[in-house]
C-alpha cells in the first residue's frame, strides 16, 4: 500500500446527451421550453435515451514506477478516464486517490499563443501546466535543446512549422517531471524521430520511479513500453493484466471479417474442382493452442487441405503460393509426389514454421499438380492468413519490418583481432546515449 501511486474505486462518469443538444444553448429556447413544460406533466428524463455512461465502475490500483498502457476502441472511455485523473472533469460516482503531482499530456502546446515568441510561450505554457517560474528558468536551456529551436526562440510561434510547434509543446511538458505522467496519444503527431524521443522520455520517466499512464493505438508501442495493460470497452474494464496477453486478446477480437479460418464444401458436386479433383475443406490453424487464437510472427501454423481424388492411381501433389497484402508472392511451397494414390478423400497438411512470415494479411492459392508438372486445378482460397506483430522492440523503430518474409536465421559473430591505429581520423564519441545513435 505504501507505494501506491493511483488508486481508483468504482469510478463512473455519466454524460447527459440532453444537455449537449444545441436546442438548449439559447436562453430564449430554454425559457420557451420551460414555459411549455409548465403546461405538461413533467416526465423523468429517460435514462437510456438522454444520457450514457462514459465510464462505469472502473477500479484498479497502480504502483509507483509502473508504466501502464490503456487500450480500447474509440469511444471506450480512455480519454474520459484521463480527464478525470487530470481533474479536468469530475466523476459522477466513485473516487480516485492520487499520490503525487500529476502532469498530463492531453494535447501538446496547450495555451500556446501564436503571437507570442517561443521564449514567451515556454514560460506561459510552463506556468499553465504547473511549473513554478524558477523551475522554468532553471530548465529553460534543456527545454530549448530538447525541442531543437535555439535559432527560433524569439520568433512568434505562429511562424513555426507544425513539427517545431509540437516539439516545443512536448518539450515543455516533458520537463515538468511530475510523479505521475498521463499521456494521451501524443505520439500520433510528429515524425518518427520525434516519436522516438517521446517514447524515450516516457521510458526514462519510468526508470526514475515515476508512474506513466499511456493511451495509444500503436500495439507495438504499448507492448514494448508497458508491462501492464488495461483494456477498456464501453466504459468498463475488459482485461487488466500482462501486456502481451491483453494485447493479443484485444487484437483477436478487433479483427472483423478476418476471422474466417476455414472453408468447407460438404457436397462434392458443388465443390470447386473438376473431374479429377474436388476440394472438400481448407483450413488454417495454429500448430498449438486454439483454432481461434490469432497467428503471430512467432507461431507455427498449418494449412490443411482436404480434397477428393477422383482418378485412381493419380500422381498428385499440392503446391501453395503465399501472397502478401500487396499481391506479391512471398514464396511457394509444396508437398512431395509420393507416388500414385487411390481415389478417395485425402488431407494434405503443410507445416509453416514460426519466425518465417512477416506480419500482415496474406492470401494463398492452392495448386493441384499431376505428374509433377501438369497443373490440373487452381483455387484461390478465401481464408486469409493474418500474421500479427506483437514483438517487443527495444526502442528504435516501430514500423513494420521490411521484406516479404521475416525469417529468423542463424547468425554468428566472432572476435578476430584488435582495432588498428586510426591515425588522423578523430574518434567520435559524441553519442551521449545509446538511443542517440539510432538513425531509423
Amino acid at each position: 500500500m505504501s507505494n501506491v501511486s493511483i488508486y481508483v474505486e468504482n469510478l463512473s462518469k455519466q454524460y447527459s446527451i440532453a444537455a449537449g443538444k444545441s436546442l438548449q444553448n439559447n436562453l430564449v429556447d430554454q425559457l420557451t421550453i420551460g414555459f411549455m413544460n409548465l403546461f405538461q406533466r413533467s416526465e423523468d428524463p429517460d435514462p437510456d435515451k438522454d444520457s450514457f455512461w462514459a465510464l462505469k465502475d472502473v477500479s484498479f490500483e497502480i504502483k509507483a514506477g509502473d508504466i501502464v498502457g490503456i487500450i480500447g476502441n474509440n469511444g471506450a472511455g480512455k480519454s474520459t478516464l484521463l480527464k478525470i485523473l487530470s481533474r479536468i472533469t469530475v466523476p459522477t460516482l466513485g473516487r480516485a486517490e492520487v499520490y503525487g503531482r500529476v502532469g498530463s499530456l492531453l494535447e501538446v502546446g496547450t495555451g500556446f499563443h501564436p503571437e507570442l515568441t517561443g521564449r514567451e510561450n515556454i514560460f506561459l505554457n510552463g506556468a499553465i501546466i504547473g511549473m513554478k517560474k524558477d523551475e522554468i528558468r532553471r530548465r529553460f536551456d534543456e527545454i530549448v535543446a530538447f525541442a531543437e529551436i535555439e535559432k527560433f526562440l524569439d520568433v512568434p510561434v505562429k511562424r513555426y512549422s507544425s513539427g517545431m510547434y509540437v516539439r516545443l509543446g512536448f518539450s515543455v511538458a516533458a520537463h515538468l517531471e511530475p510523479e505521475i505522467l498521463l499521456v494521451d496519444e501524443v505520439l500520433s503527431v510528429g515524425d518518427s524521430a520525434f516519436q522516438k524521443k517521446c517514447l524515450d522520455k516516457i521510458r526514462n520517466a519510468s526508470l526514475e520511479g515515476r508512474t506513466v499512464f499511456f493511451i495509444s493505438h500503436s500495439m507495438t508501442a504499448v507492448n514494448s513500453l508497458c508491462k501492464r495493460v488495461i483494456w477498456l470497452k464501453g466504459g468498463q474494464i475488459v482485461e487488466d493484466g500482462s501486456s502481451t496477453e491483453v494485447v493479443t486478446k484485444y487484437l483477436a477480437t478487433s479483427l472483423k471479417g478476418l476471422d474466417l479460418t476455414e472453408e468447407v464444401w460438404k457436397d462434392m458436386n458443388e465443390a470447386p474442382g473438376n473431374e479429377m479433383v474436388r476440394l472438400h475443406r481448407i483450413c488454417v490453424r495454429r500448430q498449438d493452442g486454439q483454432q481461434s487464437d490469432p497467428l503471430t510472427m512467432q507461431s507455427p501454423f498449418r494449412i490443411e487441405i482436404e480434397f477428393w481424388n477422383l482418378i485412381a492411381e493419380a500422381n498428385l501433389h499440392i503446391t501453395v503460393h503465399l501472397y502478401t497484402a500487396d499481391g506479391i508472392i512471398a514464396f511457394a511451397t509444396g508437398s512431395q509426389n509420393d507416388g500414385p494414390i487411390p481415389a478417395g478423400l485425402f488431407r494434405t497438411v503443410g507445416y509453416i514454421p514460426g519466425n518465417l512470415m512477416n506480419s500482415g494479411i496474406h492470401r494463398f492459392v492452392v495448386l493441384f499438380i499431376k505428374d509433377s508438372s501438369c497443373l490440373i486445378h487452381r483455387h484461390e482460397s478465401g481464408v486469409p492468413i493474418n500474421i500479427l506483430d506483437i514483438s517487443k522492440r527495444d526502442g528504435t523503430c516501430y514500423g513494420k519490418e521490411p521484406g516479404v518474409v521475416q525469417p529468423m536465421l542463424k547468425w554468428t559473430t566472432e572476435y578476430l583481432d584488435m582495432t588498428p591505429e586510426i591515425g588522423n581520423m578523430k574518434m567520435n564519441n559524441h553519442y551521449t546515449s545509446d538511443r542517440d545513435a539510432c538513425v531509423c
Binding site: M1, Q24, N26, R87, P91, A96, V98, G130
Partner: protein
C-alpha cells in the same frame, strides 16, 4: 497493515470524487496557482501591445476622445451641469473607472469561451480565467490615470485628503467588474446569447451610471434605487477622491458597496458550483 508495521499511511495528494455541497470554495487552490494568474495577466497585457503601432497610445486615446465628445455634446450643446467642476475633468474622472469596467466586463464575459482549450485540457481553478481578464485592463487604467494628473494640473485642481481613498475605490471597481464578470462568463459557457448581449448591455449601463451627468441630477426619490447600480458608488467615489468636493454623498457609495459585496459572494459561489461542468459543456 501499515499502521501495524509502524509506518504511517501516506495521505493522497488529491482525492477525486463527485462534488457535493454548495460551499466548496477551495481558495487555497487559487493561491497555489497564483503564478499562473500572473502569466495569464502578463499574456493579455503583452498581447495588447504586440504588432500594434499606436498600441500604447490607444490606452490614453480612448478615454481622451470620449471625453472630448462628451464635453462637446453634453456640456456645450446640452448644457448638463457638472457640480462646479470643469466638465472635461468631470467627465474624465468618471471615464477612468468606466473605461476599465467596460473593458473588464467585455473581456471576462467571453474569457471562458475563448480560453476553451485551456479549460478542456488542463487542471487549474477556472476562476483564474475571468479573474485574469478582470485584472489585465487595470494596467491600462494606470496609464490613463497619468493623463488625469496632467488634466488636474492644467485645470489647477488640488486634490484633498480624499485622494487617499482612491485605492479603495479602485478595489471596489475591480470587485464590481469581477462579480459581474463571474456571472456572465459562467452563463456564456452554456448560453451563448450572453456574448451577443454584452455590447448592448455596456452601452445601456453607461447611461445608467453618472458618467456624463452628476448624481445630483437624479431626483431624490429615485436615488436609492439608482444606487443599486454598483458603478454609481464607484464613480462617485472616484470623483470625490480626485476632485476634492466638500463632503461626499455617502448614500450612493454605501448602497453600491453593499450590492457589490452581495454580487461578488453570489458570483463566486455560483461560479464554483458550475466550475467543473465547463469542460463538459463548453
Amino acid at each position: 497493515m501499515d499502521i501495524a508495521a509502524g509506518i504511517a499511511p501516506r495521505k493522497p495528494s488529491v482525492i477525486i470524487q463527485p462534488r457535493r455541497g454548495l460551499f466548496q470554495l477551495d481558495l487555497k487552490s487559487i493561491w497555489d496557482h497564483r503564478e499562473m494568474l500572473y502569466f495569464l495577466v502578463w499574456r493579455d497585457v503583452i498581447l495588447r501591445f504586440k504588432q500594434t503601432v499606436i498600441g500604447a497610445a490607444w490606452v490614453i486615446l480612448q478615454p481622451l476622445i470620449n471625453m472630448i465628445i462628451f464635453t462637446v455634446i453634453f456640456s456645450v450643446v446640452a448644457r448638463i451641469p457638472s457640480d462646479g467642476v470643469p466638465y472635461p475633468v468631470f467627465a474624465y474622472t468618471a471615464l477612468l473607472p468606466w473605461t476599465y469596467f467596460s473593458q473588464a466586463l467585455a473581456r471576462s464575459s467571453s474569457s471562458l469561451v475563448s480560453g476553451s482549450t485551456l479549460v478542456t485540457k488542463i487542471y487549474f481553478p477556472r476562476l483564474l480565467i475571468p479573474l485574469a481578464a478582470t485584472l489585465a485592463p487595470a494596467v491600462d487604467l494606470i496609464f490613463s490615470f497619468l493623463l488625469l494628473l496632467v488634466m488636474l494640473a492644467w485645470f489647477k485642481i488640488v486634490p484633498t485628503w480624499g485622494l487617499l481613498a482612491l485605492p479603495l475605490f479602485l478595489i471596489l471597481a475591480v470587485m464590481t467588474a469581477l462579480s459581474v464578470g463571474l456571472w456572465l462568463s459562467a452563463f456564456n459557457v452554456r448560453y451563448r446569447d450572453v456574448g451577443n448581449i454584452i455590447p448592448f448591455l455596456i452601452q445601456v449601463w453607461m447611461y445608467a451610471s453618472p458618467v456624463v451627468y452628476p448624481v445630483s441630477m437624479v431626483p431624490e426619490k429615485w436615488r436609492l434605487l439608482y444606487s443599486f447600480n454598483p458603478m454609481v458608488g464607484v464613480i462617485e467615489g472616484f470623483r470625490w477622491a480626485l476632485l476634492g468636493k466638500a463632503r461626499p454623498d455617502t448614500m450612493p457609495i454605501v448602497v453600491s458597496a453593499a450590492v457589490i459585496a452581495a454580487l461578488l459572494t453570489g458570483g463566486i459561489v455560483y461560479f464554483k458550483k458550475m466550475e467543473w461542468t465547463f469542460a463538459d459543456v463548453i
